[in-house]
């Protein structure tokens, strides 16, 4: 039996998720918002891998799901940076609260 219980892994993932959520909701720089979202996805990956070892039916499936999450996260970052650069070219800003064209 492993000496680190499942709940410690889940607690670590929960803390990282909360940090990422706070960063994504409060920071004004788009790059930091994107990277906070990456942190949240990573916390989810920890949960998936932890359940693949300690879950109700332990199997390799959790690790495969984590791989898919990583692929989608990488795609998301590429699109995010492309949008950031297009936005910077048009509005000359990287602050998220200056991007309010739809508001007026």
């Amino acid at each position: 039996m492993s000496s680190v219980p499942l709940s410690l892994y889940l607690a670590l993932a929960l803390i990282l998720f909360c940090i990422g959520l706070y960063g994504a909701l409060t920071k004004r720089n788009i790059i930091i918002v994107l990277i906070s979202i990456e942190l949240m996805l990573n916390a989810v990956n920890i949960n998936l891998v932890a359940f693949s070892k300690f879950g109700v039916m332990p199997s390799i499936t959790g690790q495969i799901f984590a791989l898919f999450v990583m692929a989608v996260a990488a795609a998301e970052v590429a699109i995010g940076v492309a949008i950031l650069i297009a936005l910077y070219r048009n509005r000359n800003t990287v602050n998220i609260d200056e991007v309010n064209t739809l508001k007026n």
Partner: protein, 173 residues
Amino acid sequence: MTFSGELLAFMSLALVAIAGGVLLLNLNKVVHMVIALVFTFVSIAGIFILLSAEFLASVQILIYSGAITIIMLFGIMLTRHSETNVPKTGRLRKLLLFLGILGFGFAFYIGIYNLDFGQEAADLHVNNTEQIGIALYSKYIIPFELTSVLLLATLVGAIILAKSDDKKEAEKE
């Protein structure tokens, strides 16, 4: 729960991961924030090794602390950032958000703090990459192919979004 080397390794890795996250929230310069997050990503790779997912750990280091960080640094270098910190607006909003997230975290902690299914996979670390490969190419072949379609769409989309609009710039001049 007895004291052991595994617990010690977990605790130090978790400490580095959380410290990286806290630094992300508190540093001022954008580059420093991204570098702080690299520590978090690397220690999450260590956590994966503790959970007997060696292949995922190497992929984590390759993709996150390699590719994603470099893409982010390119994004930072291609745009201009004000060096000074953000103005002091929305302090009440920040406080409310902090309390809300604290409540969210506490609610989830109640749910997980003594969760234990009492069983453990014993054979995940034996030929880990081979197991992942066999499962990926037999059981999950359709999601795998869909992922390749997604990556292709991302490639095309990123190029179209980021390419300079020649016609519009010619009109401006």
